[in-house]
């Protein structure tokens, strides 16, 4: 008589060595795993809560400057090295891993207005209020040597900003005009002007490296072409732009930090309307820097906070502030896109995480899978009211909070007035201008 039995192949459940993971047979029959939506919802809710619990972005404060930090620069080859210039003419080089200052130079008299590194990381340039451009070696002087700049260029006017070319030994300064310098020469190889104004910042395009953007105090942003040695176009905004930053992944996109509390992202081929207006700050935006992935940017503001915006959103996804942080003057996103540095008025450089709740250090594969899953769950249920409320909640200092309320009221009043005007005038006589168009005064060819 034949007896029927259940039989299993031991290969499917016996481990070869004891270090192997136990093989767990799984049954994916959906009837065995009911309530998938509620369960995932709860998981998402928990993940969101945990994210807020673990959101501790502040990492370190680098103190040592004896005046407000006016400019920051990243080292192009080393993630751990950061350079900073202060309002008393002092330049410091920091090691981020040790969180210590490794070198200190009295570079200028008065402000250090701009600082930038050579693309190969061997030297850096500073400009100051003393009308000089100085090139310094990145490594400190050897024993017994004087701390001296490699080159010093004496100019006729004050230079207010400097930026280095991304591939060649060329740098650009700005002041009364945009000058392009060869490193080997003491006079600019080309200087470009368009009207007379004081230009506050100049930036090379990191992708199409012959392009430059600058912003001047008469409210305009001017684009230059280095190859053809001409300005290209000028856009005049409502208020002054403090600085601009190019997107490192999209050659024609740049963002301008404006005095009217907003940031404007432009496509340089169509300057008449900004691609996006980023608003959340409650005071002048002083600096902006893109994440190296080109997906976000960080902005520093006079309202004592820094904010992180996704490039395609008009509202910020994160706001960082501390009690002691004063007006933030400069901000940088590190080149591994993990951290943010900001230099502020009260002489400190602060280091933040770019993702507030990210766990630092090496993650095991299970941890990584869990974070990925949680991230995806949060995205999936982001529109649900509970989750939305929790994930959006931020604590703000009272000053910023009250200013936000105030501005909301002002905005509402303006809107109402416009509506009333339209309502009470002849139909068609008052045109409604879109917010984007309103901010651009003119585009000059």
């Amino acid at each position: 008589m034949k007896v029927k039995m259940l039989s299993r192949n031991p290969d499917s459940y016996v481990r070869e060595t004891k270090l192997d993971l136990q093989r767990v047979p799984r049954n994916y029959d959906p009837t065995l795993h009911p309530f998938e939506v509620p369960r995932e919802y709860v998981r998402a809710l928990n993940a969101t809560k945990l994210e807020r619990v673990f959101a501790k972005p502040f990492l370190a404060s680098l103190d040592g400057h004896r005046d407000g930090v006016s400019c920051l620069a990243k080292h192009p080859k080393s993630l751990a090295t950061v350079l900073s210039g202060a309002c008393d003419g002092e330049v410091r080089i920091w090691n981020l891993t040790k969180r210590k200052c490794i070198r200190m130079i009295q570079a200028h008299e008065g402000f250090v207005r701009g600082i930038c590194t050579h693309f190969c990381g061997t030297s850096f340039f500073t400009v100051g209020d003393d009308k000089t451009v100085k090139q310094w070696k990145m490594d400190g002087p050897s024993y017994g040597e004087e701390e001296e700049p490699l080159h010093t260029i004496l100019g006729k006017t004050v230079y207010t900003g400097i930026d280095h070319h991304w591939k060649e030994a060329v740098f650009a300064t700005c002041g009364q005009q945009v000058d392009i310098w060869d490193e080997q020469r003491t006079s600019p190889i080309c200087s470009m002007t368009w009207g007379f104004d004081s230009i506050s910042s100049v930036k090379f395009n990191p992708i199409e490296t012959f392009l430059l953007g600058s912003c001047a105090s008469d409210r305009n942003i001017v684009l230059y072409d280095m190859r053809q040695a001409t300005p290209l176009k000028k856009v005049i905004l409502d208020m002054r732009t403090n600085t601009i930053c190019w997107n490192p992944m999209e050659a024609f996109i740049f963002t301008a930090a404006n005095e009217d509390y907003n940031l404007y992202t432009f496509d340089m081929r169509a300057l008449d309307t900004p691609v996006m207006i980023h608003m959340d700050h409650v005071s002048a935006v002083l600096d902006v820097d893109y994440s190296p992935t080109g997906k976000d940017f960080v902005s520093a503001s006079f309202d004592k906070s820094i904010r992180i915006f996704p490039v395609d959103k008009s509202r910020s996804r994160e706001v960082y502030h501390t009690k002691r942080m004063q007006h933030v003057i400069c901000v940088k996103w590190t080149s591994d896109s993990k951290y943010i540095m900001c230099g502020s008025d009260e002489m400190n450089i602060r280091l933040w995480k770019a993702n507030a709740s990210e766990k630092l250090g090496v993650l095991t594969s299970r941890e990584k899978a869990a974070t990925d899953y949680n991230q995806r769950l949060k995205e999936k249920f982001q529109h649900h009211p509970h989750i939305k409320r929790i994930s959006r909640h931020r604590h703000l200092p009272k000053s910023i909070y009250s200013q936000i309320q105030e501005q909301r009221i002002m905005k509402e009043a303006r809107r109402r007035k416009e509506l009333n005007r339209i309502k009470h005038s002849k139909p068609g006589s008052v045109q409604r201008v879109s917010e984007k168009k309103k901010r651009v005064v003119a585009v000059v060819k």
């Binding site: 939506v37 369960r39 995932e40 060869d182 072409d225 176009k233 992944m249 081929r269 591994d336």
Partner: protein, 772 residues
């Protein structure tokens, strides 16, 4: 503006020049001016003059110099005394003689010949143009990034840093240059190597090896790979297509496919016959072989299982009958004897002419009929034809069956004709396909001796029916009133087959006279539908009569209501009724109503709603609970039910709930299931990227956790959007990263050139812009 000014000035200058050139001819040099200095000369001249004056002809009044200060000035040369203008050529004249001043003269001439230069543009304007040109150029350069940016924005996952470290080829000796042999084995190997004089040190590679290493550059490899990929993709595509086609079970499809292939083959054969007779002969041999095979096999003899089953059905089923006929036709076709190839090759040209007498009358007749200007006139609307077919078909069936037997004997003579007929058949079938609904009915009814023609007919009939069926869908609206269409077409002088939608023609109602005429024609032709036609005539007779119209309308609506369905008759009537100007508006209205009726034909909304509401009320009512246990306290088992008393006793009546909110609202169903506790967790508005709530719900419904998904799909579902490597510097995107070639020229070198100098092309551009 400035340019026009410049042009003006240049014109002026030109005029002046012309004057300069003209002047010398008008005013010959005055003699007074080249007076010599010496007295002797003067005397001599005076003498000469005296002599000439004697002649009295060439006498000239000489200007007397009266006051020196007037004429001779140290600031300017004056010629006032002579009454002539001083021109440039006057000054040049004396220069002619002295060779030393040739250079000066040349210069002067050059000055004379040169045109004036246009005024340069204003500096600001030039700069503006420069900027514009430069901007256009730059934005062109930048637009190459568009696809890259687009791709990166939409990418599911971006992995940074973008540029992967290229694995650099390093010879092992470089790597282990610092390494020394320690163990005896290693030393032994080293010794061996040195003995064999293997290149341990430089040059590490022979030139050949190096060349082979460098043989293929990265781009080449990429290109080659892309090519291979393309080829593979194409191959797989064709394979997939073949597989797909093979899988198709539809017999009709295969039949059509086969037919198409056969036709193609025939065409090719024709071509071949003209181009290459030898090859054509081979083809013919092949055909001959096929014929032999056919003769040997019983394949198309209607003797198989399938054929027998069909034969049983044939009596009742039209299609079965046709299928059988087709089989036989196929057999016939395959068994045709082919004419000797040499003949056909020789006759090429004459074949068609000679073919004529072979053609039986029947075929010609069909052609003639098909060629008629209006095939509709001759016979056909689907309704009629169908009826006719139903009647005629049994006869047809009988005929081929009867002919079957004699045919097999007569085969020989018939075959000879058939090859020649083939061409005609084809042509005819083509022609007749264009007039789809048309069937050569009379031909069928005629007694046809030739089987081939018979075959063609049956084939055609089958085809037309098939096509009728197919076109039925697309022409539903008109076909619902095929008669209408046909009737209207009949009204047309020369009916074109391409326009079946004649109802919407714009020239329908131009003038009243035309309409009347049309109406007369219509009434003359529409004898089949006398009542409607009469009505139409009435309408047409008194077009201003408004009373007739609503009556008609009412009647039509009644009809629709009665049938409560998409009626086929009403539209036909509408079109048959002769269109009048009055009806125009009514037509539209009615059309609208008609359309709504048609759209909601068959669904009674109100009844449905009431039913739905009843169901909802029922569902929301609290249910009674039956606690009876069968077999408890009494007998139980199959077929036994607990007693009514027990049931009554254990039935727990549910308390009646509160009255429904929509109790007094007959047109509303208020859902009372809404859970206020869940609302806090529900999304109130449809979030942005979604366009329909179902999409959103679906994304929520699909779980992404590993509890519900396999490991692989879980990983895929939870893939992060941006991946960065810790401790790696992310550089800005480069042209090489995305496969573009970065420009080789340096930005710096360009700057060092003189930037202000413009190329000729630019200048041209400049000019053009300034003109505009």
């Amino acid at each position: 503006m400035s340019s026009s000014r410049a042009a003006e000035s240049s014109l002026l200058a030109l005029n002046q020049q012309e004057e300069l050139e003209d002047l010398p001819r008008e005013y010959p040099l005055s003699t007074s001016e080249d007076e010599g200095d010496s007295d002797g000369e003067r005397k001599h001249q005076k003498l000469l003059e005296a002599i000439s004056s004697l002649d009295g002809k060439n006498r000239r009044k000489l200007a007397e110099r009266s006051e020196a200060s007037l004429k001779v000035s140290e600031f300017s040369v004056s010629s006032e005394g002579s009454g002539e203008k001083l021109v440039l050529s006057d000054l040049l004249e004396p220069v002619k003689t002295s060779s030393s001043l040739a250079a000066v003269k040349k210069q002067l001439n050059r000055v004379k010949s040169k045109k004036t230069v246009e005024l340069p543009l204003h500096r600001e304007e030039i700069e503006r143009i420069h900027r514009e040109v430069a901007f256009n150029k730059t934005s062109q350069v930048l637009s190459k990034w568009d696809p890259v940016v687009q791709k990166n924005r939409q990418a599911e996952q971006l992995v940074f840093p973008l540029s992967k470290q290229q694995s650099v080829f390093a010879p092992i000796e470089h790597v282990v240059s610092g390494w020394k042999a320690r163990t005896p084995l290693e030393q032994e190997i080293f010794n061996l190597l040195h003995k064999n004089k293997q290149p341990v040190t430089d040059p590490l590679l022979t030139p050949m090896e190096k060349a082979s290493l460098k043989a293929m550059s990265l781009e080449e490899v990429k290109m080659r790979r892309a090519e291979l990929q393309r080829a593979r993709a194409l191959q797989s595509y064709y394979e997939a297509r073949a597989r797909r086609e093979k899988k198709i079970k539809s017999k009709k499809y295969h039949k059509l496919l086969k037919k198409g292939k056969a036709k193609q083959a025939l065409k090719e054969f024709e071509k071949l016959r003209k181009v290459n007779p030898a090859a054509a002969l081979e083809e013919l041999e092949k055909l001959e072989k096929a014929r032999m095979m056919e003769r040997m096999s019983l394949k198309h003899q209607n003797s198989g299982k399938w054929a027998k089953s069909k034969a049983v059905m044939a009596k009742y089923d039209l299609e079965a009958r046709q299928a059988m006929q087709e089989q036989l036709a196929r057999n016939k076709e395959l068994m045709q004897k082919i004419q000797v190839a040499s003949e056909s090759a020789e006759e090429e040209g004459g074949a068609e002419e000679e073919g004529e007498p072979f053609v039986p009358d029947v075929v010609n007749e069909v052609q003639v009929k098909a060629d008629r200007p209006n095939p509709w006139m001759f016979r056909n609307h689907s309704g009629d034809t169908k009826e006719a077919e139903v009647q005629g078909d049994p006869e047809e069936l009988a005929e081929p069956a009867a002919q079957e037997a004699p045919e097999s004997e007569e085969e020989g003579p018939v075959v000879a004709e058939e090859i020649l007929l083939k061409e005609f058949e084809e042509r005819r079938s083509l022609r007749q396909k264009s007039g789809l609904n048309q069937i050569a009915k009379p031909v069928g009814s005629q007694e046809a001796k030739d089987l081939s023609s018979q075959e063609v007919l049956s084939e055609l009939r089958a085809l037309s029916q098939k096509l009728n069926r197919e076109s039925h869908q697309s022409r539903k609206q008109e076909l619902s009133s095929t008669r209408t269409v046909l009737a209207v077409q009949r009204e047309e002088p020369a009916g074109e087959e391409e326009e079946p939608l004649l109802l919407q023609r714009p020239e329908r109602a131009r003038t009243l006279d035309e309409l009347e005429e049309l109406g007369k024609e219509g009434c003359f032709q529409n004898k089949e539908l006398p009542r409607v036609a009469v009505e139409g005539q009435q309408l047409e007779r008194n077009p201003s009569n408004h009373l007739g119209v609503p009556k008609e309308k009412k009647r039509k609506e009644q009809m629709i209501d009665l049938q409560n369905l998409l009626t086929t008759k009403s539209p036909s009537m509408k079109s048959l009724a002769v269109p009048t100007t009055v009806e125009e508006l009514e037509d539209e209205e009615r059309d609208q109503r008609q359309m709504i009726k048609e759209a909601f034909a068959g669904d009674d909304v109100i009844r449905d709603f009431l039913k739905e509401k009843r169901e909802a009320v029922e569902a929301s009512k609290p249910k009674d609970v039956d606690l009876t246990l069968p077999g408890w306290g009494e007998w139980g088992g199959v077929g036994l039910k607990p007693s009514a008393k027990k049931r009554r006793r254990f039935l727990v009546k549910a308390p009646e709930g509160p009255p429904r909110k929509d109790k007094n609202l007959p047109n509303v169903i208020l859902n009372e299931k809404r859970n206020i506790h869940a609302v806090a967790h529900q999304v109130r508005m449809l979030p942005y990227p979604f366009t329909h709530h179902q999409q959103f719900e679906r994304t929520i419904q699909t779980p992404i956790g590993s509890t519900w998904n396999t490991q692989r799909s879980f990983q895929k579902l939870t893939m992060p959007k941006v991946v960065t490597k810790p401790g790696h510097i992310i550089k800005p995107i480069k042209a090489e990263d995305v496969g573009y070639r970065s420009s080789s020229r340096s930005d710096l070198s360009v700057v060092q050139r003189n930037p202000k100098r413009l190329s000729i092309r630019h200048k041209k551009q400049l000019k053009k812009i300034s003109v505009d």
